[in-house]
């Protein structure tokens, strides 16, 4: 009797488990489906080709997602600020390049699909060695050591020929003729699907890692490293293991980078690449697992689109970054999470009006700012490159006074309006959160 009751109770539980899984994880599945389908939106049926730009951008997104998530294993989950994370991406890439060249030469019968494992092992090996030193310290000393390591490896990459190929880097050819599925990998779209597979795998692995004893103790030593010692853990070992694993995932990203571009240079280990990881992770949000994913997608999109349109991509990225640090230190996902209690209480509708009122002035400031930046840019760099500033076929002369006046007016007027609107929004926000709080305690 009781046994039967247990069994009947268990069965719907299993079915409910799948449904619950779907309900909880549907955004990930949706993202995966989207990733599989999206290249076909840009498929040119007349030529039978995918847009090279789109596929390359999508591949870059996949690589960046792994890279940013692996960075957040340090920053968000273990509270370790690293300035040299690219080292493991790059070294993973170099190792992969050598491995692919070896398979091409016939020395190593490794199918191309599995070469990211070589990247992972490469990243892991270097993270074990370098992490042995770096994780001896925490906080600022750790950050400084990683900065040093980053510069060190970059200099080495420029200096040594055998492994790094010096300034020219190591080039490779991904068409090794060895594949599990008989795919040639001549077309970028084929590599893209390989990236999707490895990205999905890595995301799942990293998500599961947060739920292991190591993942939890990484959180614990981030929150209070001293307390972690007094429950039996050596925080240094926690840092070390977390660092090593994070390096392995960065290595996977590096391997995919190598397969995509078929060349690895010192850029992949250098400071700007590390800064990119920081940027993506921070803008996406360090507090939520999916934060870096959002950041990676957003930054690559901006990087690709904006750099197509404008010379000043770095300025926009920098300003965006500064705004986030100043006003939303928990990143984009953090901003979204702030709305969660309001949404639960069913009061999100009350904020729509205030948000809409912000839209106008914010847009004015944005346009004014972009105009000002572009004017500057065209005045100097654009002029040097012989470009002219055209906006829907109207050519704007950056040497004239009028466009500058317009930009200034937009900035100042919009700014003043925005300040007023912000005050109104702040009041509305406070009122709503206060309401949610009181109803919350009543319930």
């Amino acid at each position: 009797m009781s046994e039967g009751a247990v069994r009947t109770a268990a069965q719907p539980l299993a079915a409910g488990g799948a449904a619950a899984f779907l309900r909880r994880q549907w955004p990930w599945l949706a993202a995966l489906v989207f990733a599989l389908v999206v290249p076909w939106f840009s498929f040119d049926w007349s030529t039978g080709r995918h847009s090279g730009f789109i596929v390359s951008m999508l591949s870059q997104i996949g690589i960046s997602i792994i890279f940013a998530l692996s960075y957040n294993m340090l920053m968000g989950q273990a509270g370790l600020l690293s300035f040299g994370h690219a080292v493991f991406l790059g070294l993973g890439g170099y190792v992969t390049a050598h491995v692919v060249n070896a398979t091409k030469g016939g020395a190593l019968p490794l199918p191309l699909e599995l070469t990211p494992i070589a990247g992972a092992l490469g990243g892991l090996a270097f993270a074990v060695v370098l992490g042995y030193f770096a994780t001896k310290q925490r906080a600022t000393a750790f950050a400084m050591i990683t900065l040093g390591i980053g510069e060190l490896i970059t200099s080495c990459a420029l200096m040594f020929q055998t492994f790094f190929g010096g300034e020219g880097g190591v080039s490779t050819n991904r068409m090794t003729g060895r594949s599990l599925f008989g795919v040639g990998y001549a077309a970028p779209i084929q590599v893209y699907y390989l990236i999707v597979a490895w990205t999905a795998l890595s995301v799942v692995a990293m998500l599961l890692l947060t739920r292991t004893p190591l993942g939890r103790m990484a959180n614990a030593s981030r929150d209070n490293f001293e307390r972690a010692q007094f429950v039996g853990y050596d925080p240094r070992m926690v840092r070390f293991f977390q660092f090593a694993l994070s390096g392995a995932f960065a290595g996977i990203a590096g391997a995919l980078y190598t397969l995509t571009y078929e060349i690895v240079t010192y850029d992949t280990v250098a400071g700007p690449m590390s800064a990119n990881a920081l940027l993506m992770t921070y803008i996406g949000g360090v507090g939520v697992f999916a934060g870096p994913v959002v950041g990676a997608v957003l930054i690559v999109l901006l990087q690709s689109w904006v750099s197509l349109l404008s010379n000043s991509w770095l300025v926009y990225a920098g300003v965006l970054f500064i705004m986030m640090v100043t006003f939303a230190p928990m990143g984009l996902t953090g901003l979204v999470m702030m709305h969660q209690p309001i949404w639960r209480a069913g009061r999100l509708g009350r904020l729509i009006g205030p948000y809409l009122r912000l839209l106008g002035p914010a847009l004015l400031v944005l346009i004014g700012f972009v105009l000002a930046v572009e004017l500057c840019s065209f005045l100097t760099i654009g002029a040097a490159q012989g470009k002219s500033f055209t906006l829907s076929r109207i050519t704007i002369d950056p040497r004239g006074a009028r466009p500058w006046l317009v930009a200034g007016l937009l900035l100042v007027g919009g700014g003043l309006w925005l300040r007023v609107a912000m005050r109104g929004f702040g009041a509305a926000w406070n009122a709503v959160t206060e309401e949610v709080k009181t109803t919350g305690t009543r319930a």
Binding site: R211, T212, P213, A220, R222, N224, F230, G232, V238, L245
Partner: protein, 252 residues
């Protein structure tokens, strides 16, 4: 006589030119409840820090169950069965209450630095954590980030984390500090219940708690032990009264 659970022999500590602990010797019998009292700044918390390995001692010997623990790092001492709480609440503020307790359990349950177990699936572990949660009366707050608990709840959680690892020697640093009478009474009942059968050493300011709970009281003044013995004896000790308890007697 059995080996003491904890034995200090002429332990010393100085910070730069200032001597804080000036030769403390102390035996704590297994299973006893030992209170250390003394005015603020007498060095009680420093003594705890030396025993638990937070700071290295400048001199002397510390033994746990007859084995020296001098110079060992805190996590090593913890693994040998000594656990401590902090005077200033020390928890994992961004993790939930349940996670806090579970982190206290992980090492003693043999998980070490595992990255191949999913904590959610470990039934025995989670059952033990749930039991501890019930023991410290925080079931209702299971999924709240620990940083959002009230002060008294955080103190209870602190004790929960401290005993979670199943250490047989427990050091509690002012477990009732800052609590009202009724909260302190709760805490005393809790401590009595969950440290049954363990060796307890605690620093405490609240005399009613001390005399309620302790078998042995040691008085530490200015880095030295001036008396040690059963509560009644300490109460009657003239030197102690002068240095410490004597004060109110003078005015009343």
């Amino acid at each position: 006589m059995s080996v003491p659970a904890l034995r200090l022999t002429d332990v010393k500590k100085s910070f730069g030119p200032t001597a804080v602990i000036m030769g403390v010797s102390l035996d704590v019998a297994p299973g006893s409840r030992h209170a250390i009292i003394g005015p603020n700044g007498a060095g009680k918390t420093t003594l705890f820090n030396l025993i638990s390995g937070r700071f290295p001692a400048s001199g002397g010997r510390i033994e746990l169950h007859g084995r020296s623990i001098d110079g060992l790092p805190p996590h090593e001492i913890n693994r040998r069965g000594l656990s401590r709480s902090f005077q200033v609440t020390s928890i994992f503020p961004r993790m939930t209450v349940f996670e806090n307790i579970r982190c206290g359990l992980l090492w003693s349950r043999g998980y070490k630095y595992s990255f191949w177990h999913l904590v959610g699936g470990q039934r025995v572990l989670n059952a033990a954590a749930a039991q501890l949660l019930a023991d410290v009366n925080l079931e209702a707050r299971r999924d709240v980030p620990a940083g959002l608990l009230t002060y008294a709840e955080q103190r209870a959680l602190e004790i929960g984390i401290t005993i979670a690892g199943g250490a047989d020697t427990v050091l509690l640093d002012e477990p009732t500090a800052g609590m009202s009478r009724s909260e302190a009474d709760h805490a005393v009942a809790l401590i009595r219940r969950i440290t049954a059968g363990k060796t307890l050493v605690m620093v405490e300011h609240d005399m009613s708690v001390v005399f309620d709970l302790a078998d042995v009281v040691t008085v530490l003044v200015y880095g030295q032990v001036i008396a040690s013995g059963p509560p009644a004896e300490i109460r009657a000790n003239r030197a102690v009264q002068d240095a410490y308890l004597g004060a109110p007697a003078e005015v009343s």
